[in-house]
């Protein structure tokens, strides 16, 4: 057990070193760096403005008011924001395969996943997380807070990060088989984020079932938020779904880990 802890601590330390190096490298072009930080916050800001404008036309969407949608939006945004900041670079694994840099990484005494994830670490992604936090705080006004709800909200945010974390890794692994399919993963990561920005009531029942049992993105925020808002499940699914997000996160992490291992095992160098 002590060995595992030491290994994990070592990996984190190495991650921080590589990430710090990329931050220094990004600061070499200070103008671009700061414009990127502002731009990244602006992207997500305008995204929420778009949602706000929708509510300018209608009082509620799928039976949910603006503040309630903000709660869903914020929770999902924090989840994908943290996952994207920490390991979003895993999307570029195909590029490493194609250009042969993965070979160099394999020879270094640092776990491959750490190297791939810390590569091109981008602080600008903090812009998205801070926007999501603000939106979440605004949405929190629609919740009648109790101790249990505060606890569940924390569990929800952590699980959301871990679920998106697994999505990034698992779907990026496809690139070990077809190198130029980076965008495929976006459908699940950013697509999953976009889906969970809306109340699930706008989707037909079949879509919701798919998002619950197949690609379990509904556990990122939908089921926990129903509990936070004290709403019965509009689709009649069991109320205890609100509490199983951590279990789902554990499952997706396991699947992602297995996919990554088999992807790396399948990897054959391009020889360049």
């Amino acid at each position: 057990m002590a060995e595992v802890t030491a290994a994990v601590r070592g990996a984190c330390q190495e991650y921080v070193w590589i990430a710090a190096m990329w931050v220094r490298s990004a600061l070499a072009y200070p103008w671009s760096f700061w414009i990127l930080v502002v731009g990244s916050a602006l992207i997500t800001l305008l995204d929420f403005v778009g949602l706000g404008l929708m509510f300018h036309t209608i009082p509620h969407l799928g039976g949910f008011g603006l503040r309630e949608v903000a709660l869903l939006y914020g929770a999902s945004g924090i989840g994908i924001g943290v996952a994207d900041l920490v390991i979003g670079s895993v999307e570029q694994v195909g590029l490493h395969v194609r250009t042969g840099t993965l070979d160099a990484m394999l020879t270094r005494p640092v776990p491959l996943l750490v190297q791939v994830c810390a590569d091109r670490f981008a602080v600008r992604r903090l812009g998205r997380i801070s926007q999501a936090l603000v939106v979440f705080a605004y949405g929190a006004g629609s919740v009648d807070w109790t101790l249990a709800r505060v606890g569940l909200a924390l569990v929800m945010v952590v699980s959301a990060c871990l679920i998106f974390f697994s999505f990034f890794v698992a779907f990026s692994c496809i690139q070990f088989w077809t190198v130029d399919s980076t965008e495929f993963a976006n459908a699940f990561t950013y697509g999953g984020n976009t889906m969970t920005q809306y109340p699930m009531t706008i989707f037909p029942r079949e879509v919701l079932k798919g998002l619950t049992f197949l690609i379990p993105v509904a556990f990122v925020n939908w089921y926990p938020c129903l509990f936070l808002l004290g709403r019965p499940d509009p689709f009649g699914l069991p109320g205890w779904f609100a509490f199983v997000s951590p279990v789902v996160a554990g499952l997706t992490l396991t699947v992602a880990g297995l996919t990554w291992t088999s992807g790396v095992r399948h990897y054959t160098s391009t020889g360049s």
Partner: protein, 265 residues
């Protein structure tokens, strides 16, 4: 013809990445489905929002997904090559070629756009037809005008992306400006939400800006919300913006050429 040759080769260059194209079509379609349901929920409550009906709204979603790459809403295209060549200093070679630099990159970008409209535009549109029964062009004439409008959209978008790439002459790296420009384009083109349902005065302002060219104007022609004089007015505004922006490109390039210091040269 030289520029045609450049365009054809650019078309071929972009068509090399088949799996990437398929992956992109898949992703566009997933987003198409999500936004369709969101808009259906909105138009279910306000069946006439922005003068669109529910079918118009869903058609608009799928047109947006189909044109996302063609108009290079997020940036990209040959202007990215230019920015990289400015950063490395290779742009010096482009500058002493006996061919206009703007024309060279515009031709390449048009070739790219033709590829993207065929590869990334047609499939999502068919999927939209199958899944959501979207509207086809209001008439064959509307279809033809749509194509003209789309071509103008690509030129406008090229001019803006060219200007962004040119900032690399001063900033060395375009990535910050590229992102800012992409953000503005996504919001002001009506990709986030159709411009027609923006509240006034934001609606009128957005409709007068060059980004309206990207999606709102072609979509309105496709949907038959513009006809006769309306089409001509829309196209005239597109031509105006394209001409103004191309002129600015010329001026900026001239200024940049005067100051260019080639690294390592």
């Amino acid at each position: 013809m030289l520029y045609a040759a450049v365009a054809v080769r650019s078309f071929r260059r972009f068509s090399t990445y088949r799996t990437a194209t398929l992956a992109g079509v898949f992703t566009n379609s997933v987003f198409g489905v999500i936004y369709s349901y969101a808009y259906l929920a909105l138009w279910h409550q306000r069946p006439d929002a922005g003068g669109y009906d529910a079918t118009d709204a869903v058609t608009y979603v799928w047109l947006g997904q189909a044109l996302l790459m063609t108009v290079a809403l997020w940036g990209g295209g040959t202007t990215d090559d230019l920015a990289e060549r400015i950063r490395t200093g290779d742009v010096a070679i482009d500058l002493y070629r006996p061919v206009g630099l703007i024309g060279w990159y515009l031709a390449g970008d048009l070739g790219r756009a033709v590829y993207h409209v065929l590869a990334r535009g047609v499939l999502p549109t068919i999927l939209g037809l199958v899944l959501f029964d979207i509207a086809l062009p209001a008439s064959p004439l509307a279809g033809a005008w749509f194509v003209v409008s789309l071509a103008l959209a690509v030129v406008t978008s090229f001019a803006i992306r060219f200007l962004v790439a040119c900032t690399a002459f001063w900033l060395l790296d375009q990535s910050g400006m590229r992102m800012l420009s992409g953000v503005l384009a996504i919001f002001l083109s009506g990709m986030t939400l159709p411009l027609v349902i923006f509240p006034e005065p934001l609606r009128s302002i957005a409709l007068a800006l060059p980004w309206a060219s990207y999606l709102q104007t072609p979509a309105d022609i496709w949907l038959g919300h513009r006809h006769g004089a309306g089409i001509l007015a829309g196209l005239a505004l597109q031509v105006l913006w394209a001409a103004v922006l191309m002129a600015v490109c010329r001026a900026v390039l001239a200024a940049a050429t005067r100051k260019v210091v080639v690294q390592g040269g």
